[in-house]
């Protein structure tokens, strides 16, 4: 089946991952800007990074028939340096003109500090001003509840359309409020520290599949792009159809990211030849 990997840090992965993803049915990936594992010192380093994910990485993915989209932004960890962050923000609008840039992300909180909040708000304001989609990271482990609550409080005072905002890395204890407020939410499948494939399927069973995205993140840390495919297997093993799976793992990413016209993949539906013929006759 056709799969979209909506949160994927391709620069941290090998060409073999692209190849294996292509073999498993992945047709597109979207790469948010993130922390490189160390704090960058210069705005120019970010700019080159944005060039890498908006210019070079699409060519690497294309070698395997995969479309590559990206997001630009100052990640929560480096937002702790406001001076650097504001310098980066000044140059971000140039990237909104690039053909594969979908919006601003991943932004938000890491330790829920004042500096992080200042840069988060500035980036949300920029997204509103330039009509960009927003992808929000929520913190790890023991910081997740506090950071998610503060994220929602900050957004509630800003003029954002929740349908254009994706709050990522939610788990059982943080999914309800963002969904009820009308935002899109994402499950990030990690081997240990976030959500697992089975628990993701549990939440799909409890909350339905509207406004939910599932991703592997897959970065330079302990992670695996194929936890997404593992989740699809778990989902199918519980008796759901291929079309049900397509709705979640292909069509939902299309529905969210397709709000930016640059994302030009359309929802798909399985149809037998007989169904196809009869609909032609009816028309």
């Amino acid at each position: 089946m056709q799969i979209i990997q909506p949160h994927y840090h391709a620069i941290a992965r090998t060409a073999q991952d692209y190849e294996r993803m292509a073999m498993s049915g992945v047709v597109a990936v979207a790469e948010p800007a993130f922390w490189a594992g160390f704090d960058r010192l210069y705005p120019e380093t970010f700019i080159d990074y944005f060039r890498q994910i908006s210019e070079f990485e699409p060519t690497r993915a294309a070698d395997y028939g995969i479309k590559h989209y990206c997001w630009v932004g100052v990640n929560p960890k480096e937002a702790e340096n406001p001076e650097l962050s504001h310098e980066v923000l000044k140059q971000m609008p140039e990237f909104f003109k690039k053909p594969t840039v979908l919006g601003i992300g991943e932004i938000g909180f890491h330790k829920t500090t004042k500096n992080e909040e200042e840069i988060f708000e500035a980036q949300v304001e920029q997204a509103i001003k330039y009509d960009q989609l927003i992808l929000i990271h929520t913190p790890h482990l023991q910081d997740k509840v506090r950071g998610t609550k503060r994220t929602l409080e900050v957004l509630s005072h800003m003029n954002v359309n929740p349908e254009r905002v994706w709050i990522d890395h939610v788990e059982e204890h943080t999914i309800r409020e963002p969904l009820e407020a009308g935002y899109w939410v994402g499950f990030t499948l990690y081997p240990i520290t976030k959500c697992t494939p089975k628990r993701a399927v549990d939440m799909l069973e409890i909350y339905g599949h509207e406004r939910i995205l599932v991703n592997s993140s897959a970065d330079w840390g302990p992670s695996d792009p194929f936890t997404l495919q593992e989740c699809i297997v778990q989902y199918r093993a519980r008796g759901y159809s291929v079309q049900d799976a397509i709705e979640i793992f292909h069509n939902n990413p299309v529905r969210f990211m397709g709000q930016n016209p640059k994302f030009d993949i359309k929802p798909v539906r399985l149809e037998t030849y007989e169904e196809s013929r009869s609909s032609l006759v009816e028309n």
Binding site: L141, E172, I192, T193, T196, K198, R199, D202, E205, I206
Partner: protein, 79 residues
């Protein structure tokens, strides 16, 4: 031991945390499936009781670090 207790806990904490959350989710899954079934009365299976006994072994204080052994014995047919 080549490692201190703190070093061991540093290595094991997240994996143990993950295992506990997975276990909670598994119990929830059984409960949800049971709620959806038409039969009245609470779902009962001896394996669930075994799993609950196992949780007790995890939290008992012991002078010997033999929880894994005791868990495996609990899950063994000894007759």
């Amino acid at each position: 031991m080549m490692q201190t207790a703190l070093q061991v806990l540093d290595r094991e904490y997240l994996e143990a945390r993950c295992s506990l959350v997975e276990l909670g989710a598994a119990f929830d899954r059984v409960d949800r499936a049971s709620d959806h079934e038409e039969n009245t009365g609470k779902f009962n299976d001896s394996r669930l009781e075994l799993l609950k006994q196992a949780l007790g072994i995890l939290t008992e204080e012991s002078h010997l670090p033999n929880r894994a052994e005791r868990l495996l014995l609990l899950f063994s047919d000894l007759d």
